[in-house]
């Protein structure tokens, strides 16, 4: 029997930023679908791109801004 154990830990402020990031992407997807539905394909993809660009700084912080990962390099 497969025994899967998922260990997931998140600090409260990380949770907040995840919520913001998910919110931005979700908004972008909503904009994409809504705008595709009204036959404005160019605007639809640009809308999604806009939200993805807006989400970039937060994503960079979530993924790369961690203690320890560069300690050996920069010590």
């Amino acid at each position: 029997m497969l025994n899967l154990k998922v260990n997931f830990q998140m600090k409260w402020y990380e949770g907040l930023l995840w919520a913001v990031e998910i919110g931005l992407v979700a908004f972008g997807l909503w904009a994409l679908v809504d705008t595709l539905m009204i036959s404005c394909s160019k605007a639809a993809w640009r809308f999604l791109l806009l939200f993805l660009i807006w989400a970039l700084p937060g994503a960079a912080v979530l993924v790369f801004f961690r203690p320890g990962r560069n300690a050996q390099d920069n010590a």
Binding site: L16, S39, S41, I53, W54, V61
Partner: protein
């Protein structure tokens, strides 16, 4: 190595700083705006990948980003109060003559013979003898193809039902001008909605009772329910300001419309019919289908209003109908504005968010059925949005929409469209028929989805959104997103606009007598020299504004002098006669005065001096500064 990393770090942050500086220096360029986010992300990522990060730094950057977006979210979606609607009336307001509006002037010949004969220049001899010839007329830009003829014909066919003389129990027979109200046998006997006096179930639910009591509030809910049932996108109800009534009628070429005869009409019910997103999106003024959109919405709204009015008359009330193209008794846009459904936009028409912005045509029922009007002060932030968005002004092929700030005309402070230029292009568009560029590009013109409603909410409430979407003093996201592109129809190209011009040096001769009306020097078009080709560039050819470049006219469409020939581009068979007939004639000043003094002819426009208005203006409503509320209150008390 470490040095290089630091150097790149500095470069990335500098790039972000430069994007920020560029953003301000370029007056909020959208790419500089996007670049701020991209460079910030790169700098943060590089920092995190190459330099030691403490737990505190991680927390603080997280909270920094979260704080930034919380602030933006609050600024965009916070329930900020909607900006107050402007006080439009700032001076003496005169009634508008229907002969004075663009179509009145064009059809009557006051703008010149070439445009008055737009039908002739619009087609080739075969067509003249074909579709229009059968009716003894050249097909015009309206009647030039079967669908448009069917749709506009559908509206005209209803003229007899607007509220005139009774005919077999129905108000059917139009009089010379139907400025009298239908009097039914049952007048005085008020009938209810139905035998049981039962309300529409949703109205009953809203009010908490089922049997009608005929209070104004209840009546309004019922009229709105029925109006929407008939197919109206929304229903506006306003108390009538008598200055909305035209002073002179167009269909009968200038018959005066005395206020005394319409004192019973205290309320206006306005119905909105969609010109349809797909058609507006896919058919600009050069699609050759364009004018049918107006015909569709005019005839449908006419039909709705005629039926609503018939019901009110049967209930024992007076009900008159106004519908388009030219069968109105009153100006429509103030009804939309003062019913609390919209605001005057840059186009100078009412922008009504619940009806696709500018994408509707409306019809109205004027009645004495007691109603509760909407809040005239209700705003939507449209004026603030229009101040930051000039998409319609940029799109207009003949620059008839004002850039810049509102101005005062006829005592009303609002953006003023150059109606003569607009109508000359719409009637004389040589590369299509009519036009709808302004309403097509308006950000309010979207299908009514939840997403679009959220956008409208933001524009109404947020102090930031108009700067984000508008480009006058903002980022211009609406431009960048490019809703103009239709995946069904491709891209609408900026085109060299070409329109029917008057002969070089043309100057209209006044007084000009047509039907019952005399146009005087005060009616001279301010766009007359332009109409005769002076300074006219046939649209915006060669001009560039905010990245929009207007193309060149093909040489084959130019005459020996480099001017666009006044012919439809399919018309290759020769020139038009140099002189085209006008529907009216020029007379002497003495003749004009005698006709006016004896009451055989009439004159007047909102811009005329008092001495040149026949019959004279109402001293009660057209003297001094009277706000909408003051005028409507006086009118309501009028017996």
């Amino acid at each position: 190595m470490k040095h290089n990393k630091k150097l790149l770090m500095a470069i990335l942050w500098s790039a972000m700083g430069a994007s920020l500086i560029l953003f301000v220096a370029t007056r909020f360029n959208v790419y500089a705006f996007l670049s701020i986010f991209v460079t910030a992300a790169l700098a943060l990522a590089w920092w995190g990948m190459n330099f030691p990060i403490t737990e505190t730094a991680r927390r603080n950057t997280h909270l920094g980003v979260v704080g930034f977006w919380t602030l933006i979210f609050g600024l965009l979606f916070g329930p900020f109060p909607v900006p107050k609607k402007p006080q439009y009336v700032v001076g003496e307001v005169h009634r508008f003559s229907e002969m004075e509006h663009g179509w009145g002037r064009m059809y009557s010949g006051a703008l010149g013979p070439q445009i008055a004969n737009h039908g002739r220049v619009y087609t080739d001899p075969e067509e003249v003898n074909g579709i229009g010839g059968a009716r003894g007329k050249s097909p015009s830009f309206v009647t030039g193809y079967p669908l448009a003829r069917a749709l506009f014909g559908g509206a005209s066919a209803l003229d007899g039902y607007r509220g005139v003389e009774k005919h077999g129990g129905e108000p059917a027979a139009p009089v010379k001008y139907p400025w009298v109200n239908y009097e039914s046998e049952a007048r005085g006997t008020k009938l209810g909605w139905n035998k049981g006096d039962m309300l529409l179930p949703e109205v009953a639910k809203q009010l908490g009772y089922e049997k009608a009591r005929y209070t104004p509030e209840e009546n309004s809910l019922m009229v709105k329910g029925i109006g929407k049932w008939l197919g109206s996108m929304d229903v506006a109800i306003a108390e009538v300001d008598p200055r909305w009534f035209y002073s002179h009628d167009f269909i009968t070429k200038g018959t005066p419309l005395p206020l005394e005869e319409v004192k019973e009409l205290k309320y206006a019910i306005q119905l909105f019919v969609d010109q349809d997103w797909t058609r507006v999106h896919n058919d600009p003024g050069n699609s050759w289908w364009s004018v049918a959109k107006s015909g569709q919405a005019y005839s449908t709204s006419a039909w709705q209003a005629v039926r609503l009015a018939a019901m009110l008359r049967d209930m024992g009330y007076v009900a008159r109908v106004g519908f388009g193209g030219i069968n109105y008794d009153s100006v429509e846009s103030p009804i939309s504005v003062y019913s609390g459904k919209g605001e005057y936009g840059r186009l100078s028409d009412a922008v009504v968010p619940s009806a696709g912005g500018l994408r509707f045509k409306s019809a109205s029922v004027l009645t004495n059925f007691p109603l509760k009007a909407g809040d005239p002060d209700q705003g939507y932030g449209i004026t603030r949005m229009c101040a930051n968005c000039d998409r319609c002004a940029r799109a207009c092929p003949v620059s008839s929409i004002a850039m810049g700030e509102p101005t005062v005309e006829n005592g009303v402070n609002m953006w003023q469209v150059d109606k003569d230029k607009c109508v000359r292009f719409r009637a004389g568009n040589l590369g299509g028929n009519c036009c709808n560029e302004c309403l097509r590009v308006c950000p309010y013109n979207k299908p009514d989805t939840l997403f679009h409603r959220l956008g409208n909410y933001m524009i109404a409430h947020s102090p930031v959104a108009p700067y984000l979407f508008g480009s006058v003093r903002g980022v211009g996201l609406e431009d960048w997103l490019d809703f103009d592109y239709s995946s069904e129809a491709g891209h609408v190209k900026n085109r060299p606009a070409r329109w029917v011009q008057e002969n070089p040096g043309f100057k209209m001769q006044f007084p000009y007598y047509v039907g019952n009306y005399i146009y005087t020097e005060e009616d001279r078009s301010t766009a007359e020299a332009w109409a005769a080709g002076e300074g006219a560039k046939m649209g915006k050819v060669g001009l560039t504004y905010k990245g929009v470049e207007w193309g060149k006219i093909e040489p084959r469409l130019l005459d020996a002098n480099g001017r666009s020939r006044n012919v439809h581009h399919d018309f290759e068979k020769g020139a038009l006669p140099a002189e085209l007939p006008l529907p009216g004639k020029t007379i002497s000043k003495e003749e004009a005065q005698a006709l006016l003094d004896s009451g055989q002819a009439f004159a007047g426009g909102s811009n005329h001096t008092d001495a040149n208005v026949f019959p004279p203006r109402s001293p009660k409503y057209e003297r001094g500064v009277l706000t909408y509320k003051e005028a409507a209150k006086k009118w309501k008390e009028e017996k």
